[in-house]
């Protein structure tokens, strides 16, 4: 499924011969750069104070996709030198058992970040479990206290949720100016849309949030210099929604049927890529855009947590 950054960009160039100016935002490459930077920082920390950052991941149940995510996180930890601690519990575990592990990790000085893989089995109270992760180790950034700090001016954020943090990091690394720009975030989920809007606002963009109840999403989106789309609707954002020269960050990863693909499907974003390439000035591909950034930001948050806890600059 994953194509290399170079083949991805050559596909674009070929298809867009006449509109060759669109820049493809290469999330795979940026994520690799970030992992290299994290790796260097972790070596420096280890050499200087002997601390190795640790990330605990709790997986409950046998969902295949969740198991894959957890495996990928573990691998990513290894590449940068973060020690990962993994707990896999059976589907029929009790909430108390999960809470016990969280409590132990909260107290464990080797663990600097705790992540509970979602979704949890339906007999568990997700909110209750997520709230049990102590705020200093909530590297996912989903705690309401984290979101509140993100929303408030003059407050330092503790942890920024990984996917929206990855979106903003891509804008930064590609030198996209945010201050004073119109930004439209499509989707208002707790884990992407809402924190992405709050982050853009922190950087002085003028932000509008478009969602399922918005009456004229196309008209509003067309005003944006920066579009972040996170709705999970394949190809929803058409070329006509896009202001010429806009920068597009596409968070959607949607499977669509594709008989020519050995798996029978391929992944597309929320944004109709072919049309967008003719209008936008820069765009993230799917896959290879925002996707690789999420785990990179998780590693970044874990390093940040270890630095904070050990007061390492």
């Amino acid at each position: 499924m994953a194509r290399s950054a170079s083949s991805s960009s050559s596909v674009i160039t070929a298809a867009m011969a006449s509109e060759a100016s669109v820049k493809v935002i290469d999330g795979k490459k940026v994520a690799k750069d970030i992992r290299d930077e994290i790796n260097a920082e972790i070596s420096r920390m280890k050499d200087s104070i002997g601390v190795v950052p640790g990330l605990a991941v709790i997986l409950v149940g046998e969902r295949k996709d969740s198991a894959t995510y957890v495996r990928n996180k573990k691998k990513a930890c290894e590449t940068v030198g973060i020690k990962s601690y993994e707990v896999c519990l059976p589907e029929n575990s009790t909430e108390e058992e999960v809470l016990k592990y969280i409590s132990d990790f909260n107290d464990d000085p080797m663990v600097h970040g705790i992540l509970v893989q979602l979704p949890l089995p339906s007999h568990m109270d997700e909110q209750n479990i997520l709230n049990a992760v102590c705020i200093e180790k909530d590297v996912d950034g989903f705690h309401p206290l984290n979101i509140g700090r993100l929303a408030m001016r003059g407050r330092e954020t503790s942890f920024v949720p990984c996917t929206p943090k990855g979106c903003i990091e891509l804008l930064h690394r590609y030198n996209v100016e945010i201050k004073g720009k119109r930004a439209v975030v499509i989707g208002r989920s707790n884990i992407v849309g809402t924190p992405a809007a709050l982050l853009l606002q922190r950087e002085d963009a003028t932000v509008s949030i478009v969602h399922s109840r918005t009456r004229n999403p196309e008209e509003i989106t067309r005003q944006a210099d920066i579009i972040i789309s996170a709705v999970g609707q394949p190809n929803m954002v058409r070329g006509s929604w896009i202001k010429p020269g806009a920068v597009i960050i596409d968070v959607g990863i949607n499977p669509v049927e594709d008989a020519t693909n050995p798996r029978g499907y391929r992944l597309v974003g929320d944004v109709c890529y072919e049309e967008a390439c003719k209008v936008a000035s820069a765009i993230t591909p799917v896959p290879g855009g925002v996707g690789p950034m999420t785990i990179a930001m998780l590693l970044s948050n874990t390093l940040l947590s270890a630095k904070r806890i050990h007061n390492f600059k």
Copy 2:
């Protein structure tokens, strides 16, 4: 300074003879209705479980305006049957002294709401002091955990900050539809603009936030069906900023020089009232609009807190 609701609306009618359709949103009257409702609820609670809601107010220093606010809050408590506890500390008190009072009120079962009058003297850490108020008694709703819950879908809010809550309450009481409407909030303060935007979004408006870094505030504001302005700039929002038929909630209370007024000044809003009346379908006057609602919402939050703590339905 305060003019009665009836004289206020007759002024409008006279000035707007040709555009007589604008509705003046009478915050004074709505606040009175709400106080009456709170009063009835408090009687019911007292008769039923013998509990009287209590609000503690801490005032530090001798600022005249702060003293006035505290006095008004105390008076308002009396009118609805809330018992108020007042602590006035000298300007040169230490942070520890203030924290000690907060801690005592946190533990006091007679106290259901705690309010620290801002601003605090400059030698105190405001954030530190506000964070000391336990979340169950934070009737001001300024704690980041409260703001985070407000921002997150599917989370119940604990306390909504009083001024933005008052803005939305005015829209509700005047049957202004919010769902699916375009809303623009001008200003992004932690105590008004940001929570107002989050509240509008919770009610399914499509929200844009305009602020000091916004390049084309007039153009964006003109798209709004609902405008909430909270910037503190007298008459900043002109008639040309307003879409015909928009509903305007003006939070600004700005003194401007006025030689004809015995005090030498009069209060105006952020919105140029005379111009707005010709375009908008409804508008809050200043004074007599949002102003009276803030204290009414403080009383409402205090009652809510007492009901929650005593599990009284």
